[in-house]
């Protein structure tokens, strides 16, 4: 089914008003038919919202320690207690620490005599939301005891809270990185495609060269060059910049190709003949006509950024310890023993996978919705 007919069927199946629908509305209608992409969009919106309001969603501060629970496994939320009694308010059981007499390992079991009810939207320790707004409400908290839904790490820090604070760093690096990539890619790809000739040649060569150096070693070399004395914020922007400096080539190629093919289109020639300025032609006529493509490409580039940050931090040359990101958290799971004894430390990895899948599905859905030449729901 070609795009034209599929848009037509959309129009046929809904109200007669559709004839006047804007292109944006049509794209949205096509996108909505992609069930998985829609679900992914919601998953991402929820995750970004949680990351944005980390202080509210995380029960504890990222570096708050619970010395009674070192390497403690995740607690289970329960409604029915050990006596078989139902409680309307969910609760968790406290830990009972045993030292295994053979291996000298800490082993935690549920202590059914300690029942900690969970309270929602309750007041707790004061915090500054986004570092500015004073607040004290928490999504989940206990009035006595503790709640560790993802378990704790080697210092007894709550993994659930750390994953949420980590999301703030990891997810925002993906977005900021892509915005930088977007700017670089459109600027360089646009210049190459619009001017052509020698400029085009130079940009093309640069893209070729950057793409011939294996990405991860290149990232490693660049981030090893970040001065160790930099502040966490400096390293954060340094890493973001590195990811974009390496990653803009793909987008630039797409933009260049589009510019090359659009340059000879009738509407561009017409605009030029009327005497529109070069800037007006580029920003008013050419860019909007393939914006959906570039946004799609950018969406598909976000997971690469997130994976890049995770990989670098995991190797210890990305973000460093006081900063909490998913890659930094995964560093704890690097050693083999940790994985066997404390598998819950791999949860941040699960989050990475979830986000990457969601972005890929979202990008696929957007591509199908935006690409007028695609077979709707056909080959993919």
């Amino acid at each position: 089914m070609s795009a034209a007919t599929s848009i037509a069927t959309d129009a046929d199946t809904t109200t007669p008003m559709d004839a006047t629908l804007s292109p944006r509305r049509l794209v949205w209608l096509r996108f909505k038919r992609h069930r998985l992409a829609l679900v992914s969009l919601w998953v991402l919106v929820v995750m970004y919202a949680i990351a944005f309001s980390a202080e509210f969603f995380a029960p504890y501060a990222p570096d708050e320690r619970n010395v009674r629970a070192i390497f403690a496994p995740p607690q289970q939320i329960r409604f029915v207690d050990a006596q078989g009694e139902f409680h309307f308010r969910p609760f968790v059981y406290g830990y009972r620490l045993n030292i295994n007499p053979d291996t000298w390992m800490r082993e935690y079991t549920e202590d059914t005599s300690q029942r900690y009810p969970l309270y929602f939207f309750d007041r707790g320790a004061h915090y500054a939301w986004l570092g500015v707004v004073p607040a004290s409400r928490y999504l989940i908290s206990t009035r006595e005891g503790y709640v560790h839904l993802f378990g704790t790490d080697r210092l007894g820090r709550d993994l659930f809270s750390r994953v949420i604070y980590g999301a703030r760093v990891s997810l925002s690096i993906g977005l900021i990185g892509v915005i930088l990539t977007f700017a670089l890619g459109i600027a360089l790809g646009g210049v190459a495609g619009y001017l052509g000739g020698r400029v085009d040649g130079a940009v093309q060569r640069t893209i070729e060269v950057i793409q011939s150096i294996p990405q991860l070693p290149l990232w490693m070399a660049l981030s090893a060059a970040l001065p160790a004395a930099w502040s966490p914020l400096g390293v954060y922007f340094g890493i973001t910049l590195i990811l974009s400096l390496v990653g803009w080539t793909g987008l630039a190629r797409v933009v260049r190709g589009k510019f090359l093919s659009l340059r000879e289109e009738d509407f561009v020639v017409a605009a030029r003949l009327i005497g529109a300025s070069r800037r007006r032609i580029i920003f008013r006529h050419m860019l909007p006509s393939f914006m959906s493509h570039t946004i799609t490409t950018a969406t598909l580039a976000v997971p690469g950024m997130i994976l890049g940050e995770t990989a670098l931090s995991f190797l210890g040359i990305g973000l460093r310890a006081p900063v909490v990101s998913w890659g930094v958290l995964l560093q704890e799971a690097q050693n083999f023993q940790a994985v066997v004894l404390t598998p819950w430390l791999l949860i941040p990895g699960g989050c990475v996978v979830l986000v990457v899948i969601a972005f890929n599905l979202l990008g696929d859905g957007m591509r199908d919705a935006a690409d007028p030449y695609s077979y709707a729901g056909g080959t993919t």
């Binding site: 150096i213 070399a221 990989a311 995991f314």
Partner: protein
């Protein structure tokens, strides 16, 4: 064809020259240099170093020459096969690097083979039985395969190997074979260890390649000649394998071009997690200790491998498809 080969090989030269400049700049980028790094190390050990010794060291490595001179000396030596001297390991780079490059090449190549052997039949199956249960299954597997970062997969492989098979996954040899001379038993041991990094590394590429194969074959299967052949009663197996698959397989040649850089990248991090004696761990070490000759040689050789891989893939494509030769 010969003309095309000549043009393509000549086009490599400026690319490689630019890469070498970038690599040199990258290695010089960290603040300080190898002598100051060595000094820090010596002073941490309590060794006193006199100013004259520092001067001698700086002179020995020509650190006070202007950058372009240093670059030309480095690349000149590189071209004659002298890769320089690793200060951290106190050995010529040549003795450190080639074993590791060999294993990197071996793992990369076996992953490439794995990718093809697995992705090709699955791609064909998914296309021929489109929207079947198996197709959906492989779609989901592929989706996850692309999304799981390969270092996470490496950790999971270690976990699985330990908890299911009770073996410690990691390294390329059993302890007794690490320093043993080459023998058939050692080769066997290598192969027994090779499959885990191969699968871990090949997973993402396999997932992507089978999607490409599926999409290409689906396009091909809709064409009139296939319908005609089917109408005339050609046996299904022959119908699929003899014509459409041979056309759809074209991207498998071009995969070398884009798969190789990903594999080499992935190999670096997987090797660090699985503790393989390949380039990855040593490259990280050398970058951290500013061992510039070692780091530079690794970066340069890995890029060279990629560029040559792309060349091979382009040449194979030109050989398979005459239209490319005469563009």
């Amino acid at each position: 064809m010969l003309n095309y080969v000549r043009r393509r090989v000549l086009a490599m030269i400026p690319t490689l020259a630019l890469i070498s400049v970038i690599v040199f700049a990258l290695v010089q980028l960290p603040p300080g240099d190898i002598v100051s790094a060595t000094l820090d190390r010596l002073q941490a050990q309590g060794v006193e170093v006199s100013d004259t010794q520092i001067e001698a060291l700086r002179a020995q490595y020509h650190l006070d020459d202007p950058m372009p001179v240093q670059y030309l000396r480095w690349i000149g030596n590189f071209l004659t096969g002298d890769l320089g001297y690793s200060i951290a390991y106190e050995q010529p780079v040549n003795t450190l690097i080639w074993d590791r490059m060999g294993y990197t090449l071996l793992i990369t190549f076996s992953s490439l083979l794995f990718t093809w052997i697995v992705a090709l039949p699955i791609g064909i199956y998914s296309a021929v039985r489109q929207y079947s249960l198996g197709d959906y299954f492989f779609t989901v597997v592929g989706l996850i395969g692309v999304a799981v970062p390969n270092f996470l997969l490496a950790i999971l492989a270690m976990y699985a190997g330990f908890s299911w098979f009770g073996i410690s996954v990691g390294g390329l040899f059993s302890p007794e074979y690490i320093d043993a001379p080459w023998s058939w038993a050692r080769v066997g041991d290598l192969i027994a260890h090779l499959w885990i990094p191969t699968i871990v590394l090949g997973a993402a590429g396999t997932a992507a390649t089978m999607r490409v194969m599926r999409a290409n074959l689906l396009d091909e299967l809709k064409k009139p000649y296939v319908v005609t052949a089917r109408a005339k009663g050609v046996r299904p197996v022959k119908l699929i394998l003899k014509y459409p698959v041979r056309i759809a397989i074209n991207p498998f040649i071009s995969t070398i071009g884009w798969l190789l850089p990903t594999l080499i990248s992935g190999e670096a991090i997987v090797a660090i997690v699985l503790n393989l004696p390949t380039t990855g761990p040593l490259l990280l070490q050398s970058l951290l200790s500013q061992d510039m000759y070692l780091a530079g040689s690794f970066l340069m050789l890995l890029s060279l491998m990629t560029v040559i891989g792309m060349l091979i893939s382009d040449l194979l494509l030109a050989w398979a498809d005459p239209r490319i030769r005469y563009e």
